[in-house]
Symmetry: C2
Subunit: 390 residues, 2 copies
């Protein structure tokens, strides 16, 4: 006989936890248990999302006999310990990005995943699941653009952080553009190009240090502007800009330029343009497009000032991932077995470790790398001319 | 009595020389003498543009009694010596960017300009003359965006360099995206924001090293991809991407984000968007737009494969500059006197020196700056886990 979908235990009560729960339920999963940092938080969301069990005790979820699949959407500092413990108990795990606070956190997760290779251990780097990036990867694999020369990534958003102080405001706790959005794009660049960063240079800063709700002795330290460059291992260059100070909705553009053509994924539309013979480039063609709307119901479970700001692409990716997750559990003999073929696009803990390495290198570069002083011009020009001439 | 416009001597026979001559004539200037690196080059363009005198001898232009204004569009290595000599002879000078090959070249030009303060000494950083950048500067001065936080600049082009080997192919001789286009945007950022770079980090590279006409033992060394960041002196950050590997026409975007609003100049249109009270941003408004067509006749004096690639914005800026140049010479008592009020927006040799400092610092950074190695992940993970644990 075939079993129904596995029961799910969810860690976290924030935005992504709520969205993930909503989409899991939409796909037919039962949410059996919810963990929150306080019992109040857990109770509130459990009642809202109709979840039978809530707790602030980690083990109460992990050991719950109805829970076969654990989805981690807690603050990042707990990701690694919950993931490792889940695998140790013998349950499948899906973990929200990033893979913990640093390289060593993610290394522990990967080690556990390798120790239990039959258990599911996936990361929610879900831009991979968008039809546009799937198609982009395929076109690159098939040689449409030739050798990759340059990748330009630009992410603009104006997400308001005007809520009570939490880990999102703290750069050391996993907040900021680089960890929140940068990780997704570092992963998707690797996914589409098959290339990894060898060297990086980066710069992070925080322009908006206070909001109406975060002020006084507290200030925001998570980056709201980040730019970094990567030299990839097969010779391509990549430059990324992540800017949360831009008016309007979340928008992104991934431009991949090759020797023969270029591909542009921009806000859910994939364009291509091939170099024509002789001179210039050919006409722009649309190759693929994603659904441009929020997945069903997500606009109603959040207040309008939040749902307006939700990055549609990330939610569409999340939904596509959950559909594949469902498929992998269908037609199985046991609630804990799964078919890896349906999830071959999914990001693993090994991918998470790569992303984490890049994130850390970018941060390190921002703290230590040398900038070149611009020769001062103006005031003492004549003095320096005289010095030059003597 | 008032004199007619000054007679002009032009140095150079390349694309910008020809375009400049065309627009000067359109404005009513007489071109009295033309210099080319070879007499053949000079003769060819002189006959094409109907110029009475041509030579390959520099002094023959400078000392020509009909020449009162000298316009330098020679290869960059000659800019400084011609400009300094022109001023020494007591004639007005307009010099194509960049101001020579390096800082010391430009310093000599500036020194000469300061020694003869009544003579005209201007650089053709002419994006300043576009209505969109004039308006942008005004809006910033009037406080529309508040304090400037971030400036993002992106320049995409696909200019073909498939011509016989010349200085444009050589990074040390003034060729490349950084010197050719970067300088214009470094200048216009200073113009609109009033801020100068204190520190820079940059990366330059050349992807297309050969073309049908440049191959064998010769290769292109001028950069076709450049990205750099600047920390400006009043706290703003600026990031620039210059990419000549992108399909389609020349296009640019300058995004200036402030505490109160943002301004975007994109391909000749200036948009603004103010932060509304409470949350998010207001509606986007169009504040100004430039003429989107090539100035009259420029499309016919070049073959179509060149005229298609001409950056319209730079030619529009050139035309506006020449109109102001004409105005400054009108109603004067002498062919060498000019009214500085009409040219108050123009870039001086002091501006050229600033741009040159930044260009050199970006190049220096690209050669010397440290990149951070990304921690290798993959193969030896288990070894490194064991090492971590012991």
């Amino acid at each position: 006989m075939t079993h129904p979908l596995p029961g799910v235990g969810v860690f976290g009560t924030g935005f992504t936890a709520k969205a993930f729960i909503h989409l899991l339920k939409l796909a037919g999963f039962r949410i059996e248990a919810l963990w929150g940092r306080t019992t109040d938080d857990a109770e509130k969301l459990a009642s809202e999302m109709d979840i039978p069990f809530f707790t602030s005790n980690i083990d109460d979820v992990l050991l719950n006999q109805h829970v076969d699949l654990v989805c981690i959407h807690s603050p990042p500092f707990l990701h690694s310990q919950i993931a490792v413990k889940t695998l140790g108990i013998g349950k499948n795990v899906v973990c929200e990005r990033p893979g913990g606070l640093g390289f060593e956190d993610t290394l522990r997760m990967l080690n556990a995943a390798k120790y239990y290779p039959s258990l599911m251990s996936l990361m929610t780097y879900n831009l991979r699941f968008l039809p546009t990036f799937q198609k982009m990867r395929q076109q690159i694999l098939e040689g449409y653009i030739g050798d990759i020369l340059i990748i330009e990534v630009r992410v603009h958003s104006g997400v308001m952080l005007d809520q009570h102080y939490n880990w999102l405001h703290d750069g050391r706790m996993g907040g900021g553009m680089l960890a929140q959005f940068g990780g997704h794009f570092i992963d998707v660049i690797n996914f589409i190009s098959g290339q990894k960063a060898k060297q990086v240079h980066g710069f992070l800063t925080t322009f908006q240090k206070h909001t109406a709700k975060v002020n006084g002795f507290r200030e925001i330290t998570s980056d709201d502007f980040c730019t970094f460059q990567m030299k990839l291992d097969k010779g391509a260059c990549c430059t990324c800009i992540l800017n949360n100070n831009v008016p309007g909705k979340f928008s992104y553009e991934v431009l991949v330029i090759g020797t023969k053509a270029c591909l542009i994924a921009k806000d859910g539309i994939l364009h291509g343009q091939s170099k024509s013979e002789g001179r210039g480039f050919g006409k722009q063609e649309v190759f693929e497009s994603d659904d441009q709307k929020l997945p069903s119901g997500l606009d109603t479970i959040f207040p309008i000032e939040i749902s307006e700001q939700i990055p549609v692409a990330l939610c569409q990716g999340m939904m596509k991932f959950i559909e594949s997750l469902k498929e992998s559990f269908m037609q199985q003999d046991d609630k804990r077995t799964w078919d890896s073929a349906s999830l071959q696009s999914a990001a693993t803990f090994e991918d998470a470790l790569y992303v984490q390495s890049v994130l850390e290198s970018v941060r390190q570069s921002s703290e230590t790398s040398d900038w070149v002083q611009v020769h001062p011009t103006g005031v003492n020009i004549n003095t320096s001319i005289n010095q030059t001439n003597t």
